[in-house]
């Protein structure tokens, strides 16, 4: 049985279509990434699948339970961490965890050891008596995760969990997620960070409520047909403009580098060099590179939208 099965799920708010006929399946024990820019419909999908928002079309089942008809039973089996910090700042770390433990009906006997374990692996043990409002951003997220895990859910939904968190805490956070995966928890995580998406087993690329791609990270990268070249130049903006005008391939600017997707490597390289030299520009470096998700995204999303 799939951990998550989504069929033609949609949600509109008046005229606005937040999510348009999404269909996907997530296997048990998978880390599944929902990737897309702001406004792609990630949060809407999360809210639909956790049974706190009703869809306007389609169906979905989480751990075999329908998200509308069996929403109450569903909530016993899932953990959800909303994008906005949802814990009580005036309650301590311990009190927040106890509160969620009580709500999920975790027996008080035996809860202590589970709590110790969660605190230890989120490095929160020294902060048990600190009020949640006085924690740093990274610690708040880890506390949110610990609260969402207090009842050992089968499926964990994390909505942009590392948004605004420093890189070290982000690495810690993912270490915890891998640990959970080993324990058999299915993780459905949304992110706008593409490097983070690459940590997932499979990803769904979402843009303006529509599914653009659904595959493993490697598979999604394979969607990029052709060869990706990276150009180093002292005037990257001008170079990108020139290459666009010359229509040598699909051009994207990444800081001081220009990525050009061409149909064929050798020929592309030659025409790029010719174009730039023809305008009197120097080529500091030009080489074939491995595409990452960002390249996929920039080529998949129409330019006027990106």
């Amino acid at each position: 049985m799939d951990a998550i099965r989504v069929e033609g799920l949609g949600r509109r708010f008046g005229e606005v279509v937040a999510l348009d006929e999404l269909s996907l399946r997530v296997a048990p024990g998978e880390i599944f990434g929902l990737v897309g820019p702001d406004g792609a419909g990630k949060t809407t999908t999360m809210r639909l699948l956790t049974g706190i928002l009703n869809p306007t079309g389609g169906d979905a089942w989480v751990d075999g339970l329908h998200i509308v008809r069996e929403a109450d039973a569903l909530k016993d089996r899932i953990g959800y961490m909303a994008q906005r910090f949802g814990l009580y700042p005036d309650l301590t770390v311990q009190e927040n965890m106890d509160f969620y433990g009580d709500l999920y009906g975790v027996p008080r006997k035996g809860r202590e050891s589970e709590m110790e374990r969660l605190l230890a692996f989120s490095n929160l043990t020294p902060f048990r008596r600190r009020r949640a409002g006085n924690l740093s951003g990274g610690m708040k997220q880890k506390l949110g995760l610990a609260c969402a895990l207090i009842h050992t859910p089968k499926v964990l939904f994390l909505d942009e969990p590392t948004n605004g968190v420093d890189p070290v805490s982000r690495r810690d956070f993912w270490r915890i997620l891998y640990q959970l995966q080993k324990e058999g928890v299915t993780i459905f995580v949304s992110t706008a960070y593409l490097d983070e998406a690459e940590r997932c087993n499979r990803v769904a690329l979402l843009h303006k409520g529509k599914l653009l791609a659904l595959d493993t990270v490697e598979g999604v990268k394979g969607l990029l047909k052709g060869t990706l070249l990276e150009l180093r130049s002292d005037r990257p903006r001008e170079a990108a403009r020139l290459l666009r005008e010359a229509r040598v391939g699909s051009v994207a600017l990444f800081g001081d580098r220009v990525h050009i997707l061409v149909a064929e490597g050798e020929a592309g390289q030659a025409s790029i060099e010719a174009t730039l030299k023809g305008s009197g520009m120097e080529v500091l470096g030009l080489k074939v590179i491995e595409p990452d998700l960002e390249d996929v995204f920039t080529s998949a999303i129409p330019r006027e939208d990106a």
């Binding site: 809210r47 928002l53 109450d72 909303a82 005036d90 309650l91 009580d102």
Partner: protein, 412 residues
């Protein structure tokens, strides 16, 4: 032998039954006590208690506000009219006119603020609201009284505050009538040598509030009005706050059910409300010196029901408004204004237009005001006020049901 046999059977059987039913009850109680419903209800209540206790400023306000309101309104809203400022223009300046003046001055209802020397000054004193009443004694007053002739004195009142003016004129009339009667009695005695017997004599006596102090009437009603406002305000923020700060999204992703959440949220505020009630009753007794004639238990029992209704109304407003500002404003207008104006606290319901009278049936404070006044002043209990208590119970149940039913475990 036969009797003996029957005897043992008869005593053992009920005992066994009692034991069984007791065991059954224990199982039932322990099941109920450990049910998910109660566990989650307790979790919410515990969490809300922490919120209340960790916000000392809000707690301080919710304890102090009823007392402050009670003091402000209790002292300001005296309907007693005494020490009415009086201006006198005595044109006669005779022993007779001085006697009349003295009678005004020595009654507790008037205090002389000015001796005028002409209509201009009388008018000015009334215009400036220095005086509410003017006594004008004509030049020939002393002479006419001395000559046993019909004499007139003029009383002018500032009628802009019609109620007080009416009362003040009534007092003035009584003083003048008494003086006139005494003159008459003296005259008859002088002429006939006999004590005249009055035909009719009124012996007034006010029940329940023998000194006719309005505070005894106002304070109980005021408690009812203030408690309505405070309790609805207390809970009006709780649900809206969770929507506003985003904690509600996390909360509704758990197995929590509407009734557990709503009822759990009421518990700590119920405790705060009862403390407020206790403080108000103590303030009424010791600061305003208003005695309670009826039963204290009944007072707190019915107050508890009234509080539950008002608290649930606050939660209802809160979960509909979803914003703290809107919720608190709604709670204020929906409770304070009707309770203040339409409960019979300020204005007698029977004097209102018919349509407005019908509206007052929907104002729960109306029943509590009536009940508290009856209990405080007359010691009247359930035997008389059971319909009010029944309606308050219905109000509480309806508000609870509405608060629970309107709470949706869904976004948007």
């Amino acid at each position: 032998m036969k009797f003996h046999h029957e005897d043992t059977k008869n005593t053992k059987e009920p005992r066994r039954k009692a034991f069984l039913s007791f065991a059954f009850l224990r199982v039932l109680v322990s099941w109920w006590w450990n049910s998910p419903f109660l566990n989650r209800f307790r979790a919410i209540a515990r969490k809300e208690f922490i919120h209340v206790l960790r916000d000392p400023r809000a707690l301080g306000v919710s304890i102090a506000l009823p007392l402050v309101l009670l003091l402000i309104f209790g002292y300001a809203l005296t309907l007693d009219v005494d020490r009415v400022p009086l201006v006198v223009w005595d044109q006669s300046v005779t022993p007779q006119s001085r006697e009349l003046e003295a009678r005004f001055q020595h009654s507790r209802y008037f205090s002389l603020v000015r001796q005028a020397r002409g209509y201009g000054e009388v008018e000015e004193a009334l215009d400036r609201r220095e005086a509410m009443l003017a006594l004008v004694i004509p030049q020939d007053f002393g002479r006419r009284v001395g000559a046993d002739r019909n004499t007139q004195v003029q009383v002018l009142a500032d009628g802009s505050d019609a109620n007080s003016a009416t009362l003040a004129m009534g007092y003035a009339e009584a003083i003048v009538r008494t003086y006139s009667q005494e003159i008459l009695v003296a005259r008859v005695r002088r002429q006939t040598g006999r004590e005249p017997v009055p035909a009719l004599e009124l012996r007034p006596r006010a029940w329940f509030n023998t000194e006719m102090e309005s505070k005894r009437y106002i304070v109980p009603g005021l408690i009812a009005v203030i408690m309505m406002l405070i309790t609805a305000l207390l809970t009006s923020l709780t649900v809206a706050r969770e929507w506003e700060t985003g904690t509600m999204e996390q909360l509704i992703s758990t197995p929590i059910r509407g009734p557990e959440l709503i009822l759990g949220k009421l518990v700590p505020y119920f405790v705060v409300g009862m403390v407020d009630m206790l403080l108000s009753v103590l303030a009424g007794r010791f600061l305003f010196d208003v005695p309670l004639i009826g039963s204290l238990w009944l007072l707190f029992g019915v107050s508890a029901i009234y509080l539950v209704g008002a608290l649930a109304l606050g939660v209802l407003i809160s979960s509909l408004a979803k914003s703290q500002l809107l919720a608190s404003q709604l709670a204020f207008t929906m409770t304070f204004l009707p309770a203040f104006l339409l409960s019979g606290f300020m204005f007698e319901i029977s004097n209102m237009p018919r349509a407005l009278q019908l509206v007052t049936y929907l104002v729960p404070a109306r029943y509590f005001v009536a009940f508290l006044r009856g209990l405080y002043l007359k010691g009247a209990g359930l035997a008389i006020f059971w319909p009010e208590c029944l309606l308050l119970t219905l109000f509480a149940m309806a508000m609870l049901a509405l608060a629970v039913l309107t709470f949706k475990k869904r976004l948007a």
